[in-house]
């Protein structure tokens, strides 16, 4: 689950100041589950803003899914509701806000803060569980993520800061992830996994805006293109050649050369 909380109302109002027609958009998935962007929260927000702003509302089943968001936006426009809107107030995670902004090309104001990928214990109790590192190690760490739950993201813990199974960060209140891993691997009779030296993490996997393109024909020219080193090189070479051509043309026309 993507964990979100609502921004302070004053901050939302301040950001909305320059607009008059707002559409409050909720999210029918994660934000509904954690009660930050479901039907009731959208309605509540509308009640607070009405009077100062002209307000319309909608809840999109999954605003981060371009297919669904596009379909819903088309439907709204067909109903003639989208015409006067000059901004969306989005009660959803950052991925949803950005997807919406790309589709509608309207200012999208985030009404929520996006925190992490986590587990919901109950409303108000959320715990981070995954940093989306791109190479899941859970099979070897007894289902406890060291990347997320060790304060240092260590692959070979515990560190010297563990006391009585607690972590040095935050004053020995939180469990040391590696203590938990050790305990559980012991229970499973898999101390071999604990004793193993795990190789350095592959930060290259998460060092740039990531994307996965399953369809090869979609790869070139999409912002989500994942380029290998060879493709990158080809791309750069092509760009340089094009630039050189431009410069040559400019010269042959005797125009001043822009560098």
């Amino acid at each position: 689950m993507i964990i979100t909380t609502q921004k302070p109302l004053e901050e939302i109002m301040r950001t909305l100041q320059s607009y008059s027609n707002i559409m409050i958009v909720g999210c029918g998935t994660c934000a509904t589950a954690v009660q930050t962007g479901g039907e009731p929260q959208v309605r509540e927000m509308a009640d607070k803003l009405r009077g100062k702003w002209f307000v319309d509302t909608v809840v999109v089943e999954a605003p981060c899914d371009e297919r669904i968001a596009r379909k819903d936006w088309r439907e709204i426009q067909r109903q003639g509701r989208g015409k006067n809107i000059d901004a969306f107030l989005c009660l959803m995670c950052g991925a949803g806000v950005q997807t919406l902004a790309e589709i509608a090309e309207l200012p999208c104001i985030p009404g929520l803060n996006t925190h992490f990928l986590g587990k919901v214990e109950r409303i108000g109790l959320y715990y981070e569980r995954c940093r989306a590192c791109g190479n899941c190690h859970l099979g070897e760490t007894a289902g406890i993520c060291p990347v997320t739950r060790c304060a240092k993201g260590l692959m070979n813990g515990p560190c010297g800061g563990m006391i009585d199974g607690k972590c040095e960060v935050g004053g020995y209140v939180r469990d040391c992830a590696w203590f938990l891993i050790w305990q559980r691997l012991k229970k499973f009779g898999r101390m071999d996994l604990f004793r193993k030296v795990r190789p350095p993490r592959e930060f290259g996997l998460e060092a740039y805006p990531r994307g996965i393109d399953a369809i090869p024909s979609h790869r070139i020219g999409r912002e989500t293109t994942v380029m290998g080193p060879e493709e990158t090189e080809k791309y750069i070479v092509k760009a340089i050649k094009e630039k050189a051509k431009q410069v040559k043309n400019a010269k042959s026309q005797d125009a001043p050369v822009v560098k």
Partner: protein
């Protein structure tokens, strides 16, 4: 069983000769002036074989440990154990610093994960932890043994000559994951172990016994404390260690007495000697450890008294030690 690796440093040579070895600790702070560190290193000459030079201890930004280690070796004639932590540098920076250390003739490296950056004086710094102490140990091992970096790229010139130390914490509770972790570090290439400060002799001996089968030399950390303030601060701020309550109380009593500074000094010294001299003797008698790592930063004058009481011979060094009486007041 780890095979006996080549000793590059005087420290490693002495450990391998079977003598009871002492190491000290220097803690350069946020400064551009190393004169007091140099003076402290000079006053430790003759008592310890080598000195650790700390790297941003407790995540407080300090003058570079590599620079300090080099200056100490050059100006004070004291061999250093260059501490390097993963908290602030990624694998590229670690590699380049280690190559620099090799150029400067550093012979001992102590690999550390490092305290979390949140604990330091710039808590909003980006915590790096690209590698951990285990992986860093393996990386240094490869540099030394194969002349290659972490990814197997060749290093030009002669291979770095480092003996690699790692840290251990016999106070850890539970001890099992800690032992297994240190074993990982040893298997990944450590030459020697220096422990966190120990106060409980039984616990320490137990730790050393568990460790014996790996036949890697261990230097046990001890920390004679200059005053109640130092003890209380250590107790409060150093992760992973607690000063025993009786000891802390004894220090507190001294602090509260209305006596002269000199008398207080005398009493503090006596408490330390009474506690640590038998501790060292016991350790030596056990034959389970290679020596002690004395971390009494800014409290050099206690070392000769302690060693005399514990009947430890001075370290033989070519350079004659300076009179301890003339050690700097820091």
């Amino acid at each position: 069983m780890t095979k006996l690796r080549k000793a590059f440093s005087n420290l490693m040579k002495k450990i391998q000769s079977g003598k009871f070895v002492l190491t000290g600790e220097l803690e350069p702070v946020k400064t551009t002036d190393l004169s007091s560190v140099i003076a402290e290193a000079k006053s430790l000459r003759g008592y310890v074989t080598a000195c650790n030079v700390t790297d941003n201890p407790s995540s407080y930004a300090a003058v570079a440990s590599l620079v300090s280690a080099h200056v100490v070796q050059k100006e004070a004639g004291m061999e250093t154990i260059y501490q390097i932590r993963c908290a602030d540098r990624n694998r590229i920076a670690l590699t380049s610093d280690l190559l620099g250390a090799a150029v400067l003739g550093i012979k001992n490296v102590l690999t550390l994960t490092g305290d979390h950056t949140l604990l330091g004086d710039m808590p909003n710094a980006k915590p790096v932890f690209d590698l951990d102490a285990t992986l860093l140990t393996g990386m240094v091992r490869r540099m030394v043994d194969e002349g290659k970096d972490l990814n197997g790229n060749d290093i030009e010139g002669p291979r770095p000559q480092f003996n690699i130390g790692v840290a251990a914490n016999p106070n850890a509770d539970p001890i099992e994951p800690e032992i297994l972790k240190v074993v990982r570090k040893v298997e990944n290439g450590a030459d020697f172990v220096q422990t966190q400060v120990c106060y409980d002799i039984d616990k320490t001996i137990e730790f050393l016994k568990m460790f014996r089968m790996f036949s890697v030399p261990v230097l046990v950390g001890i920390f004679p404390m200059r005053s109640y303030g130092v003890a209380a601060e250590f107790d409060k701020f150093v992760p992973g260690v607690k000063v025993p309550k009786e000891l802390l109380d004894k220090f507190k009593q001294v602090k509260q007495q209305s006596i002269s500074k000199a008398e207080k000094r005398e009493k503090y010294d006596r408490i330390n000697i009474k506690f640590f001299a038998p501790f060292i003797k016991e350790l030596k008698k056990s034959g389970l450890c290679a020596g002690c790592h004395i971390m009494s930063v800014h409290y050099v004058e206690i070392i000769p008294k302690l060693l005399a009481e514990a009947k430890i011979k001075k370290a033989a060094q070519k350079i004659s030690p300076l009179a301890v009486a003339s050690s700097p007041s820091s």
